[in-house]
Amino acid sequence: MVKNMTQEGIIELNVNGEVRKALVRPADTLLFALRERLGLTGAKPGCENGDCGACTVLVDGWPIKSCLMLAVEAVGHAVETIEGLDNAPIQKEFVEKFAFQCGYCTPGFIMNAQGLINIHPDANDAMINEWLQSNICRCTSYQEINEAVKEALKQASPKMVSPPS
């Protein structure tokens, strides 16, 4: 937890289970820090306005649009990016169901879906739709994405995740 940050400085971020140091301004977003300081380019800059969901990562297990979170806010929290997933069922199902075309939105969709799978492994259709509406796919692969999430949910087991803080 950072007490105060009045100018550019080094912060420690827990990303994908590793403690990483990043030189950031207090005004830098988590998305900027991940991509430009840590070289983790899986989270994509899209609208950078919280609309498209391409930059979605998990923070303490919950999907967060990293363009709308300051990097300094993430200190003391566990950040998980697409690079932190290791052949997770949701990744396999995206391939199996052809749930992407250009792929730009895919990391954001997968991280959002991974959050859903962790938190609500028993999610019904309404909940799946509600969660997936946070992300936009310009190639309109929505049906295939929905099918991939449902298949991955069949393989899910509950994981304890506290509400976002």
Binding site: K3, N4, R25, G50, I64, E130, P164, S165
Partner: protein, 277 residues
């Protein structure tokens, strides 16, 4: 990338928060209280808002309280809309919050931020107006508890350096029959054409709207008409629409007349759902 620099301050007590804010203000560092930060970040990035510092209150323990006792449901202002929705002690507030932005952003938007932001819709305000909820406020001189109706005049009017610590919702309203409907022009996730919250208390329907005018409101005049069972339902609804307290919005989301048409249909649904028919 954020086009300007600002300082980040992270108090852990109410006293520290208000004194930090006052000190930053007096030293010309134009502070903003910071909860989820979604509106501040998005507006700052577009250069629609500038500030020299933020005071992040989300780790002040009183701002994280979620507690129910015999009198009130107390919600800290830094609770996210998702936390309120997942807890679901007050379903009308849960549903209102669950239609603000999208699900992922609800993991970041806080109750206090939605109430105090510059976006006009503030949909979580509607259940609080209907339940005569109280706000616990803090500034450098101390704390005060006020009825929300006493400080809400088109926006929540706070003293300099003041912020919302908690919202207290009377427990007697948590389980009463309610109605929530958000109508949008097209997409599910967008600003409302009209959002209505209604509940039934003491055998009377209470009504609050967002998106209908340039500020959210509860209208006791509309409630009085809607609850007047001496009149036929059609006449009550026509008259209630005439009691909308100010000019109905007329913009690209919907014309003046279409919004009023939508409100009429909503009123039919509310009366049929909650009684008073």
């Amino acid at each position: 990338m954020m086009p300007f620099d600002f300082e980040y301050h992270h108090p852990l007590t109410i006293q520290e928060a208000v004194t930090t804010f006052a000190r930053l203000d007096m030293s010309g560092k134009t502070p903003k209280y910071y909860g989820g930060g979604t509106e501040l970040i998005s507006m700052a990035r577009m250069n629609n808002l500038s500030f020299g510092s933020v005071v992040d209150i989300k780790d002040v323990p009183e701002c994280k309280v979620l507690q129910l006792d015999n009198e009130n449901l107390t919600l800290g202002s830094a609770l996210t809309l998702t936390q309120i929705h997942e807890n679901n002690t007050f379903p009308l507030l849960s549903q209102s919050g669950a239609r603000v932005a999208d699900h992922t952003i609800q993991n970041k938007i806080t109750l206090g931020g939605n109430l105090c932001g510059t976006i006009i819709y503030k949909e979580t305000l509607l259940p609080l107006l209907l339940t005569d909820s109280e706000l616990v406020l803090a500034d450098p001189s101390g704390m005060r508890t006020v009825k929300i109706g006493d400080v809400y005049r088109e926006r929540i009017e706070l003293n300099p350096f003041e912020f919302i610590v908690q919202v207290k919702i009377p427990a007697k309203y948590l389980g009463v029959p309610y109605f929530h409907l958000k109508r949008t022009k097209q997409d599910k996730i967008t600003y409302p054409l009209v959002t209505v919250c209604a509940l039934q208390a003491d055998n009377q329907i209470r009504l609050a709207f967002s998106g209908l005018c340039h500020f959210p409101f509860r209208s006791k005049e509309m409630e009085k008409v809607v609850n007047d069972k001496s009149m036929p339902m059609d006449a009550r609804i026509d008259w209630a629409v005439n009691c909308i307290p100010t000019e109905t919005l007329d913009d690209i989301e919907g014309s003046f007349s279409f919004r009023q048409f939508v409100v009429k249909i909503m009123l039919y649904d509310i009366i049929n759902s909650l009684g008073a028919s």
